[in-house]
């Protein structure tokens, strides 16, 4: 087990900067997920920790010891690759034992380890198969078993589930979450799938253009995005952003200035910001539909044309239009699904409203709790 520290880590390739000065502390036994769009530098960071890529600046510390120049052999790390790097000429059991044999472990110990890992991963039935004869999901499971079998200091996972079917991916996600908590390895996980990140992470590190955008628990990231990019990237679908302005004691949305009724205190705070251009951010899950126009505590009410109503399973949705854009809202019950009701109104949960600077994208530290 180990704690990992990154200090001002940078990687420059000849024509661009892949990683641009990253500082991060990963605690012993923690699961940290690097999340970001492709090309944001997350995989390069991981490869630096693995020792497969030499950083051009900064330091990587394992338990306080600098490992920048260390060959991967010396630091006890294990890695699972995106393009499942199993040895095609070896049977599953030999693949799993490979790292143990490479380290010259005695034969009996290897047998014991193999038994332990194959029971843990439920691989008993496929131990004698060749990787090519297995479906991708099972192959990645073998790769994971191979990584875990020698109980590494740090377990590195580079988009391990992206080559797998949706169906099996979900299965593996659960399995991975369970195993990581049970075994307690320090784990660094790289993905572009925010669902995976939210589901698995103790902390998420959101990256863009080689820099860290925000670090936090999944819940912090979801509820308090640092800027509009974090709000958009986390959550499925991402946060909606609507330009706002305050005029005549009224909060107006979009170019056409549709009014959102909010309490006086929030209005006062917003007015206090002067001419700063703002936009609000809200998640579709926090937009609901009610029939009575009065008495919805903590909700801002909006009147806008509803263009579509539909259900997926037992979830009910509606689409409404502001300016020329269509937004989705979620209805708690199916009672509003039947059709137009003159009483109905769209409610924004004011506790979940976030305000962003329209120019910098930064989230403003103001809330609308008691309104």
């Amino acid at each position: 087990m180990a704690e990992v520290k990154l200090r001002d880590l940078s990687v420059r390739f000849s024509d661009f900067i892949a990683v641009d000065g990253i500082d991060l502390d990963i605690a012993d036994g923690e699961m940290v997920v690097f999340l970001g769009p492709s090309g944001c530098g997350k995989t390069t960071t991981l490869r630096c920790i693995a020792g497969l890529q030499a950083p051009t600046g900064g330091q990587i510390l394992f338990n306080g010891e600098r490992v920048n120049e260390q060959h991967p052999i010396e630091s006890n790390i294990a890695m699972v690759f995106q393009f499942i790097a199993l040895y095609p000429h070896l049977r599953v059991k030999d693949n799993i034992c490979f790292p143990l044999k490479a380290r010259g472990m005695p034969r009996q110990d290897i047998a014991r380890k193999l038994e332990w890992i194959s029971e843990l991963f439920r691989l008993e039935d496929i131990l004698n198969r060749f990787p090519a004869s297995l479906p991708p999901g099972a192959r990645q499971k073998v790769a994971l078993a191979r990584a875990v079998v020698r109980e590494p200091n740090v377990l590195l996972l580079d988009e391990p589930l992206s080559a797998i079917d949706e169906q099996f991916r979900e299965e593996m996600r659960w399995e991975l979450g369970h195993l990581q908590k049970q075994l307690g390895f320090t784990t660094v996980y790289v993905t572009h799938d925010q669902r995976e990140a939210m589901s698995l992470a103790d902390r998420i590190v959101l990256m863009r253009d080689g820099k860290i955008v925000q670090v936090g628990t999944p819940r912090q990231m979801y509820e308090d995005p640092a800027n509009d990019f974090a709000g958009f990237f986390i959550g499925s679908p991402g946060m909606y952003f609507i330009d706002i302005s305050v005029k005549n004691e009224r909060l107006l949305l979009g170019a056409e200035g549709t009014q959102l009724t909010v309490g006086p205190r929030l209005l006062q705070t917003l007015t206090g910001l002067g001419d700063r251009p703002l936009k609000l951010g809200i998640r579709p899950q926090h937009i609901t539909l009610t029939t009575h126009t009065a008495g919805h505590n903590g909700s801002g009410v909006l009147t806008a044309p509803i263009v579509d109503r539909y259900s997926i399973g037992r979830e009910h949705y509606f689409d409404f239009q502001l300016d020329d854009k269509v937004y989705q809202g979620q209805s708690q019950s199916g009672t509003h699904m039947s059709g137009h009701n003159p009483d109905e109104a769209i409610c924004f949960d004011l506790r979940q409203l976030r305000f962003f600077d329209r120019n910098t994208g930064e989230c403003l530290e103001l809330r609308s709790e008691e309104d």
Partner: protein
């Protein structure tokens, strides 16, 4: 518009498609949902004419096109791997179908159409670029543009988005939906992604092991899943399954525990086989962290944070299920928990003979539906549903 009649296809000894029949209505997005190797691509290739059909017919606007050459079937296809021509730039890639012998257009018309479709897909600034220099998302947009520029009668989309980032995928899915509305296009869309299917489909066909298990709108499939695989492929989390045994008039989960199925007790039909598979939508399972009368014991296997809520996996002996719980539900991995089925408020719960679980076929299966009114009546159907 398009109709497949009893299509079968074999590669050597393996059966890729086994007696597939379905029909696509005009202006519909029909999604084939199934895991890799289910036969989705084979189906699309049979429709496009890229693969020959061994038995069965493909009908297009009531004409038999089974033996027609792909060139003359007015369809276009988007492939998973984009399949762009690397020797041509973006404009020429998109214009390609308009320059073919059959669909040839004048130069001015080509320019007009390419520009319009490029604008629709937000790639008008890329027209002069080399396709090798594009990102994955941009390439997929070009591939889609090439497919829609000709405005064929039918679009075939084979996992068009699965190689893309999740965020891009969501974005392009919306884009496709919008294109569909604007052009009133008819699409046959193959995917393994339940979320993608749910977001875009008018109707869904559940395909696995070369068999089409059920066709319907998402809600129809939810209300009355007619096969175990339908339950297993739908929903996130999907349907939970428990092997059960009928013991005269009670149902037992596993070998010993008796199941609290009050509605069913005393009403089980004699014809019901002894070994059953009980399928329950997770919403119909009540979960508690405190022991209570009539609940089964299990433990929390893993917890999954989803933003506005959480999902938990509950392990009960060999069996497990997953369920969405409130975001503040204080369950942690390893905690003991208790659960029961609340079939009374269920829309649908299902029972199937165990054979349906062990093998994908339901040959000669007895089927039951229980309609819950005063006079309990039995009908033949593949599952026992409590409505």
């Amino acid at each position: 518009m398009l109709e497949l009649r009893n299509i079968s296809k074999r590669y050597g000894t393996t059966t890729a498609l086994d007696n597939i029949s379905f029909e696509i209505q005009p202006n519909e997005i029909f999604v084939l949902l199934g895991p890799t190797g289910a036969g989705k691509s084979s189906t699309l290739q049979c429709v496009a004419g890229l693969e020959s059909v061994q038995t069965g017919q493909v009908l297009f606007n009531a004409h038999d096109i089974t033996d027609q050459h792909p060139m003359v079937r007015d369809m276009s296809m988007v492939f998973e791997g984009y399949n762009l021509f690397s020797t041509l730039n973006v404009h020429d890639n998109i214009a390609f179908p308009l320059r073919s012998a059959i669909y040839r257009q004048s130069a001015a018309e080509i320019r007009r159409r390419v520009e319009r479709v490029a604008r629709d897909l937000h790639i008008d600034h890329l027209l002069e670029r080399d396709v090798e220099t594009l990102s994955g998302g941009e390439r997929q947009r070009v591939a889609i543009a090439r497919a829609i520029v000709r405005q064929p009668a039918l679009y075939l989309l084979d996992e068009p988005l699965s190689a893309l980032d999740l965020k891009l995928r969501e974005e392009l899915r919306l884009e496709l939906r919008r294109l569909h509305e604007r052009h009133a296009a008819t699409m046959l869309y193959a995917t393994h992604d339940y979320h993608g299917a749910a977001a875009i489909a008018d109707r869904i066909g559940i395909l696995e092991h070369g068999q089409l298990y059920q066709v319907g709108t998402l809600n129809e499939l939810y209300r009355d899943p007619q096969h175990v695989r339908v339950g297993a492929l739908l929903g996130s989390p999907c349907m939970a399954f428990f092997p059960a045994r009928r013991d005269s008039n009670t149902l037992r989960l596993g070998e010993h525990t008796s199941l609290a199925l009050t509605e069913l007790t005393g009403a089980l039909p004699q014809a019901l086989p002894e070994h059953l598979l009980l399928g329950v939508w997770p919403d119909d399972i009540e979960l508690s962290l405190n022991e209570a009368q009539g609940f089964q014991a299990g433990h929390i296997y893993a917890v999954d944070f989803r933003g506005t809520d959480r999902a938990v996996q509950v392990q009960h002996g060999e069996q497990y299920f997953r369920k969405v719980v409130d975001i503040d539900f204080p369950a942690r991995q390893g905690d003991p928990c208790w659960f029961r089925f609340t079939l009374s408020r269920s829309i649908c719960s299902t029972l199937a003979a165990e054979r349906g679980w062990a093998t994908p076929r339901l040959e000669g299966e007895q089927r039951w539906v229980l309609a819950k009114d005063d006079s309990i009546s039995w009908r033949h159907c593949s599952f026992l549903a409590v409505v």
